[in-house]
């Protein structure tokens, strides 16, 4: 099973002076268990694309297939509930959706809506709170009393609690400090590895693309401009630059080294890859050449 987009078009507010193209003829395959990064400048259609994954938006024409679910312009909203549970969706600044009196109630909200009984939902919530690393003593507190970072975790737990098989993340680390960012990304990586979740990450952080994704999709004006391994995307520097995209830190550093005279047979994207290739061009630690 996988996720496929087949000639998907989407128009916001069709037949009005406000009509705006959201997606244009999108064809895409996200294999089961893959980690895909969606990148592109602002307004390029990233959020529009991922909202099709759980039926929040339905294609104006074309078809989206998510595992067993088929989504077309005529799919009725009544049939979407299972899809909502199957595909968990973490929006930008998800802490803005918290509302319940206690943290644990807020996290259990999803499972309750999806028809689990009170006890099961509570257990699922406690489990999810553990996954995101919330300490036990905050569970009975009001979510509005917590720090920004903790509120973010509560909101993410609220999505994980329903135990989705596909996890969509729209800039989940925006506004967090660097360590908070790293912890959160490692948490997603772990979910991906341990539970084989299919992860779709919308991000402006090219280091995250390099470090975590096995596939990258570049959006521009509602179209898929390029899709493939991060390596192949970044291999064409001029093109990347034209799309107003950035490079991973290690890659930028490698470009500087290339100007000095170093050569790389494969463009390094992570600091590990850079170190690997540099080591061959540097003396060993004992001071002698190799």
């Amino acid at each position: 099973m996988a996720i496929t987009f087949d000639h998907v078009n989407f128009t916001y507010q069709p037949n009005s002076p406000f009509a705006a193209t959201g997606l244009k003829d999108v064809n895409l395959t996200l294999p089961d268990g893959s980690f895909t990064a969606i990148i592109g400048h602002t307004g390029s259609g990233k959020s529009t694309l991922v909202q099709h994954l759980n039926g929040l938006l339905k294609p104006t024409s074309g078809q989206v297939q998510v595992d067993d679910f088929t989504l077309t312009s005529t799919t009725s909203n009544r049939h979407l509930k299972d899809l909502h549970q199957h595909v968990g969706m973490v929006f930008q600044f998800p802490e803005n959706q918290l509302f319940d009196q206690t943290v644990v109630k807020d996290i259990a909200f999803g499972p309750l809506n999806f028809g689990f009984d009170e006890n099961t939902a509570h257990d699922m919530a406690v489990q999810a709170a553990k996954t995101v690393g919330l300490p036990d003593n905050v569970l009975e507190r009001s979510p509005f009393e917590l720090s920004g970072g903790q509120m973010r975790r509560v909101a993410i737990a609220g999505v994980l609690a329903s135990q989705p098989r596909v996890l969509v993340l729209d800039e989940p680390t925006a506004g967090l400090d660097p360590l908070g960012r790293e912890h959160m990304m490692q948490m997603f990586e772990q979910l991906h590895e341990e539970q084989q979740l299919t992860v779709v990450l919308v991000t402006h952080q090219m280091d995250d693309v390099a470090d975590y994704a096995d596939q990258a999709v570049v959006m521009g004006h509602g179209e898929v401009l390029k899709a493939g391994a991060p390596q192949t995307i970044f291999n064409d520097p001029q093109w990347v630059y034209d799309q107003q995209l950035d490079f991973p830190t290690a890659t930028k550093f490698a470009f500087q080294l290339q100007q000095k005279g170093f050569s790389f047979n494969q463009l390094p994207l992570t600091e590990q890859q850079l170190a690997d290739q540099l080591a061959d061009q540097l003396p060993a630690m004992d001071g002698k050449g190799r």
Binding site: Q13, N54, N77, K81, M89, F91, Q97, G110
Partner: protein, 267 residues
């Protein structure tokens, strides 16, 4: 659903109506609304519809867009008209059951209520579609100015109105995002009985409220940091320009007025 509503929206453009001074447009709209309420004969209704049709044509927007935009409100209008239809006594009684009745006066009243509503909503829509929110706020300020004499805080009220209008799209976006986030967590906003629907609103309203408060707080901080102290001593960047087209518009309305008076005498 919210997206369909046209009343209160602004579509940037360059039509004659767009370029009229907002004070002229506000004044004329108020004036036309009063006329609609005073309208009592069919000839005048026909005339008013032709006038509104002409105004729609002048906006440069598609007629279909207006019709679809009024759609969400049509039931409200029909409901009001039906009340008039069934509860108004007088004239010839066609049918009668308990307190309900169908009379000739009732029919006439219902039809004219329906037509009045339709005219007023369409005119208000024309006003907001062709006038930027900022210009509306400026126009209101200009019209409130005389109230300064009684120490009414005109400048603050106008700024409040303009900031409020400026945040409408932001808050609508936010409402859409929160609704989507809660739908993704299994909430069904358009399903189930009344109680279920009301309960679904809570997870939307609370975050929206919390968000609006923190936005307002940040905005107040930003305004204070930029030296806003309320009160007087502020100068104004934007001034309204009354041009010959505005005078023309007022003259046209006066002519219309004469026509209407003539119609009255014809009857």
């Amino acid at each position: 659903m919210l997206e369909q509503l046209t009343l209160g929206r602004y579509v940037p453009g360059q039509s004659i109506l767009h370029r009229l001074d907002s004070r002229a447009k506000l004044l004329l709209s108020l004036y036309l609304i009063v006329i609609v309420f005073l309208t009592s004969n069919w000839l005048t209704y026909v005339f008013m519809f032709i006038l509104v049709g002409g105004l729609i044509a002048m906006t440069g927007l598609k007629v279909g867009y207006f019709i679809r935009g009024i759609g969400p409100l049509i039931w409200l209008i029909v409901f009001t008209a039906v009340l008039q239809l069934l509860f108004t006594p007088g004239g010839h009684v066609y049918w009668h059951w308990g307190v309900l009745m169908l009379t000739s006066t009732g029919i006439a009243t219902a039809v004219s209520v329906f037509l009045r509503f339709l005219l007023i909503i369409t005119m208000a829509t024309i006003l907001t579609l062709t006038t930027a929110p900022l210009a509306i706020a400026d126009g209101v300020e200009a019209m409130l100015k005389p109230l300064r004499i009684v120490h009414f805080p005109v400048a603050q009220t106008a700024l409040m109105l303009s900031v409020a209008l400026r945040f409408v799209p932001t808050l609508l976006d936010e409402a859409t995002t929160i609704m989507n986030a809660q739908r993704a967590r299994g909430v069904e906003f358009n399903n189930g009985g009344l109680i279920k629907r009301l309960r679904a609103i809570v997870p939307l309203l609370i975050p929206l409220f919390v968000g609006a408060i923190s936005r307002a707080d940040e905005l107040a901080t930003a305004m204070e940091a930029r030296g806003y102290q309320g009160g007087d001593g502020r100068t104004k960047y934007r001034v309204l320009h009354w041009r010959s087209a505005d005078t023309m518009a007022v003259i046209s309305v006066l002519i219309i007025n004469i026509v209407l008076v003539v119609f009255r005498h014809l009857n």
